[in-house]
Subunit: 384 residues, 2 copies
Amino acid sequence: MEESRQLIMLPGPTNVPPKVMRAMIKPMINHRGPEFRELYEGILGNAKYVFQTKGDVVVLTSSGTGGVECAVTNVIQGARKIIVPVGGIFGQRLRETIAVMGGEPIEIPVDWKRAVTMDMIENVIKKEKDAKAVAVIYNETSTGSTIKCMREIGEFCNEHDLLFIVDAISILGGDSLPVDDWHVDICIAGSQKCLMSPPGLAILSISDKAWSTIEKAENIFYFNLKSYRKYKEEGQTPFTPAIPLYYALDEALKMIREEGLENVFFRHKVCAKAFYRAVEEMELVPFTEEEFRSNTVIAINNPPKVSDVSLREILRRKYKVVIAGGQGKLKGSIFRIGTMGKISRAEVMQTIGALNMTFRDLGYESKFDGSISAAKEVFEKETI
Amino acid sequence: MEESRQLIMLPGPTNVPPKVMRAMIKPMINHRGPEFRELYEGILGNAKYVFQTKGDVVVLTSSGTGGVECAVTNVIQGARKIIVPVGGIFGQRLRETIAVMGGEPIEIPVDWKRAVTMDMIENVIKKEKDAKAVAVIYNETSTGSTIKCMREIGEFCNEHDLLFIVDAISILGGDSLPVDDWHVDICIAGSQKCLMSPPGLAILSISDKAWSTIEKAENIFYFNLKSYRKYKEEGQTPFTPAIPLYYALDEALKMIREEGLENVFFRHKVCAKAFYRAVEEMELVPFTEEEFRSNTVIAINNPPKVSDVSLREILRRKYKVVIAGGQGKLKGSIFRIGTMGKISRAEVMQTIGALNMTFRDLGYESKFDGSISAAKEVFEKETI
């Protein structure tokens, strides 16, 4: 297949900045030597800035899902019963992980067009007095919905001595998540989403409260957090790390720190807003109810008579823009766009343009001018 | 720390060829799209050539140790009792993995200077009639020893309906291992050893016989081989793969195929032979007994009065050659050199030179001329 530069508008992996890509080809080093120590310590320092935590951070060589398995398997022996809202594929996966790892997931079913609310959580906790943790998908990648009561959940967990575990894979670095302020005990991020690095690393923050539960964990090998903590003292990981991906993450975190977290969040917010406005003008309907809409994943209902597969195929082949389809029960009925990482006006406007052209190719008369103007207006007003 | 090109003579990671490094910076792609499918299918085809198998191959985003955990956890429910020779750190780790994952490891203690022999295995199997598998470290990275009766173990396992599980992380692609011929049911390799790629991927071959045991496996998530098999049909992995590392592995496997497996093995053998000859002339003593010496990891006793730490420190700082020390109970008493991947006369001769110079810096009178001549002679005789 011919190599070609595409605009990657997936909800991960995202467009990786050239500087981050180039960081991968730095000369190979010893993962038990001083160069790796300096690299790893630099990453951890900047990751703490992005997580807004004074707690521990570790980096695993695995996908984000591996990071979630790591979090669950390390707490499950001390916190067997875990409350988990399920409103999409990743909520389902989290529930399944808890069950598979020997825990007891208490599911809160959530409308896939919405996200869990505080009253739903409180209602369940009243009945499940021996629950030890609440685990949530902060941003449900499969539906484009974001939990809006994170601070409240964190405060509640803090007051009731529950662990607060947050899968923030598709949102950390793209929207507000002050881990310490919000009393998040374990937060899981992935390298290939808002952290604009290639896929292959999971990054976890761990609070002191979480550590006291993790102490009880036994019979874990590759995902053993106690090993990661022990080796971290020497600036190492227990098993051979994916060195080039660590170099890339290091560079990306430096770029985020340089831009400033608040600026980064604002940029994501404006890009998402431009998309939602354009979509509205195109007479398309976002899948997610307005109050829960994500700033990092935009999910949109397919217009009637437009084939999901053709839409993505034409976008990719003819206009070199890559977006995602629906997953699970949403397969064929929605499409999803990632607004993550080094996202800016250029990528948003190109995608809106290509979407309009593709719809026309497919015989759906979308309002090209109106959508472009609406998005443009957002960028001009917000001046990013 | 200043970036500097070092000669990486570790038993992994190794010197990655520039072409393989550059493959990592190919434009980002969708891991659920046609480009990844083509990439993954190409990798699997060439990996089958290197494993010499017609069976299945899968690639995981994890270190080699993750690959071993994957193999063990997928068979342990159908094959609880596993015979495992232990003659070094990685044998210990394999035994521990089996125990941690709920299996019953039957240890065959092996002298760390040697490797297991066929009679040792037969003796144990006579007593352990309900054992379901034999799991071995083909090449013990911590001691530089290689099992020399692999074919016999494989035939024995085949005749007695035992699974034969082989950790070949530090040897696959560097020495003979015809997976199908030797009746290996699961073979685990790592990207960063003889496969001369960056670290971060584990590659597993799986026989039909292994699959029938794996069918019984439940409650596995990240390392669930049945998921990997299912997604492989679509040219995908169940969780987001470390795309740049897949590109690198793809390039490295193509290079191996182009050179030809027998040529690659011969090159490793000659490089190792040159090292062993030079070491002898330097009046140093290899840690491993002659008949078990590895062609990919050279372990050498530290000469008396030479500090292990100073040796590696001077080598690295002054001569930019990176080698490894001893692990576990061998810490401080041996040093280890990897002869893996794109190893050739140049790297071997540079390392022998730098070793001699370092020994002199440390006041140990090594026989420079003799060792250089001895190594040179090996290369001239063997004409590689």
